[in-house]
């Protein structure tokens, strides 16, 4: 069976003046895949991601996300994707429940549906005791898990995660990846950037960006064979150091 592609980027480029942040990247992501998007700081990962989620216009090249063109149908893409940014972007001055209600609401969910989903979500994340607490008072790990679940409220086809586990303790990190696996099992494609090479090992396929270009793209296993090393960490070091 040929897997259906949910993200297709061809020669996708973004320039800021003379600086080329993303330089003609070409790749495909299949449905239900966990796609690791790696690269050093400043390699252009976030910029590339912003083009795919329709909040940044590409300078040139093509991209198709969830069956929609990033130039013409950015708003349709937005209906079909979830996004969790590097910067925590829920409202600190709203409670857990209020955040869920608000984001559910602006994705057009009905109040009854939101209520139902909120109950399930709070249950799964074990946030019963803090459901009516301000999100700002929660520990970072909890906030990140909540942000992830909120980004999934509207059952998107693809979820984009920009360094979701930055600054989070190892136990929470593991729990977070369990959530990611569960999501992928449900058929949602996961597009994730990370700096943790152990996390890269969990991905189905990994791309590594260096200075705006994709220098390597394959399964972690094949990448290790290709570069004749034992860990993704060494793959990354070999590439990033040039």
């Amino acid at each position: 069976m040929i897997k259906q592609n949910v993200i297709e980027a061809t020669q996708l480029t973004k320039k800021f003046g003379n600086f080329t942040a993303v330089n003609a990247i070409t790749f495909k992501v299949a449905k239900g895949e966990i796609f690791g998007f790696l690269g050093a700081n400043g390699a252009g990962k976030t910029t590339a991601m912003k083009m795919l989620i329709g909040i940044s216009n590409p300078t040139s090249g093509q991209a198709n996300v969830a069956g929609f063109d990033v130039y013409k149908n950015a708003e349709d893409i937005k209906k079909n994707i979830g996004y969790m940014s590097q910067k925590f972007a829920l409202y600190d001055d709203l409670t857990v429940k209020e955040n869920i209600t608000f984001f559910g609401g602006i994705y057009g969910l009905k109040r009854a549906v939101i209520k139902e989903k909120a109950t399930v979500l709070i249950d799964e994340l074990g946030l019963h005791d803090v459901a009516n607490d301000l999100v700002g008072s929660l520990p970072l790990g909890w906030k990140q898990k909540l942000a992830f679940s909120v980004a999934l409220l509207h059952n998107p086809k693809i979820i984009f995660l920009d360094e979701p586990t930055g600054g989070v303790d190892p136990i929470t990190r593991r729990q977070f990846w369990e959530l990611i696996y569960k999501t992928a099992d449900n058929g949602t494609t996961v597009f994730v950037t990370t700096h943790y090479m152990d996390e890269a090992e969990y991905c189905d396929r990994v791309s590594i960006m260096v200075d705006g270009k994709i220098e390597a793209l394959d399964t972690p296993k094949k990448l290790k064979e290709q570069f004749k090393v034992n860990s993704m960490n060494d793959v990354f070091l070999k590439l990033a150091r040039g």
């Binding site: 216009n57 209906k79 829920l90 600190d92 209600t101 609401g105 602006i106």
Partner: protein, 373 residues
């Protein structure tokens, strides 16, 4: 529509949850209304008056008494010579010095004619002008009495017929400056608070990163803008209401015209200001930037609104600029409706201009808000 309700609900929760913000929104402006309305006066009172009396006659003393009786003048002291009086004026101790020359009384009786010296501190030209008018009025009254006293019975038939004007002050019969200022200052506060709040609110979401999160949702631009601005529209009405109540209770400002008309106009006016706030926030990245730009406009709007200085006395080019000042129209409407009882048709020009402004401003706001950069 439902989406908008979710945003409105969220905004209200955030506004009312922010304990630091509520007093800033409601208490401070009203304190300002009470303080400014009492302080921002054009009336010149407590004029520091002194004199140099070289005549020491009954008439000269009667004249000084006349000044003493006036509520506008505080008669401070007599100076032995003009030089010392000048010195006192230099130090700012006196505002007006009246010099009564020698033989003042004698000249008056013999020649029916004499001269007085008046020196006024004119650092504040407008105040000096008013002081001069007050002095002249007192002297005229004094003159009239004197003329009657000095007149011989035989002169009666030759008595010149004098023309006296009796002014009637319409719309503010007691010339109470507070009646004039309170509606204007209220306009100012409603404008400032709503402009700052709307301008800063969206930039704040940019700063904390939640705007990006909103931009990756399929929300429509108009939904977001309406949802964001509606709460401040309501707050604007809240401020107006409390301000009108305070104006009535504390300052007893008359509200002759129709209240619904005031609210109707305010509704349109708030669109202008909120659209402007949104527009500013689209071009700024930090709350500081938004604050500075909002201040830039507020200062121009206030000083060119006719609130403190009449627009008619501005140079032609400045008068043309005031055409673009929404605060000017609001000040006019408030004064017209509250003090003159103007009707819908009376303020129709202002309504049309403000409505046009609102459409342009909100059009710019929607246009400049980009979900994709």
């Amino acid at each position: 529509m439902k989406t908008i309700l979710f945003i409105i609900q969220k905004e209200f929760k955030q506004i009312f949850r922010n304990k630091g913000m509520l007093p800033i929104i409601f208490v401070l402006p009203l304190l300002q209304l009470v303080i400014l309305s009492n302080a921002a006066t054009f009336e010149i009172k407590n004029i520091k008056f002194s004199y140099v009396d070289r005549d020491h006659s009954t008439t000269s003393r009667a004249l000084i008494k006349k000044f003493n009786a006036s509520t506008y003048f505080n008669v401070l002291q007599a100076f032995p010579s003009q030089a010392i009086a000048n010195e006192a004026m230099l130090q700012g101790k006196v505002d007006v010095v009246l010099e009564i020359p020698k033989y003042f009384e004698r000249n008056l009786q013999k020649e029916k004619h004499t001269k007085l010296g008046i020196t006024i501190n004119a650092i504040d030209g407008a105040a000096a002008g008013v002081e001069n008018v007050y002095v002249t009025q007192i002297l005229q009254q004094f003159n009239k009495k004197l003329a009657t006293k000095l007149m011989q019975p035989t002169d009666v038939k030759n008595r010149p017929k004098s023309i006296e004007s009796i002014p009637l002050f319409w719309y503010n019969e007691t010339l109470n400056y507070k009646t004039f200022m309170v509606p204007g200052i209220l306009v100012l506060l409603v404008t400032m608070i709503t402009l700052f709040l709307s301008g800063m609110n969206i930039v704040r979401e940019k700063e904390i990163g939640t705007l990006e999160q909103i931009n990756v949702t399929p929300i429509k631009k108009y939904q977001f803008i309406i949802g964001k601005l509606f709460p401040f529209w309501v707050i604007g009405f809240g401020l107006l209401t409390i301000g009108l109540i305070l104006g009535k209770v504390i300052f007893n400002v008359p509200i002759i015209g129709s209240l619904p008309l005031i609210y109707f106009y305010t509704g349109i006016y708030l669109f202008v200001i909120l659209g402007m706030g949104f527009f500013i926030s689209n071009f700024t990245d930090t709350q500081q930037q938004a604050m500075f730009i909002a201040w830039f406009f507020v200062v121009i709007f206030i000083l060119m609104s006719g609130l403190f200085t009449p627009i008619e006395s501005m140079p032609q080019w400045a008068q043309q600029i005031t055409e673009l000042n929404p605060v000017k129209y609001f000040v006019q409407v408030m004064r017209m409706v509250m003090l003159k009882g103007a009707s819908f048709t009376d303020i129709l020009p202002q309504i049309l201009k403000t409505a046009t402004y609102a459409i342009v401003m909100n059009g710019l706001a929607v246009w400049s808000y980009k979900k994709t950069n």
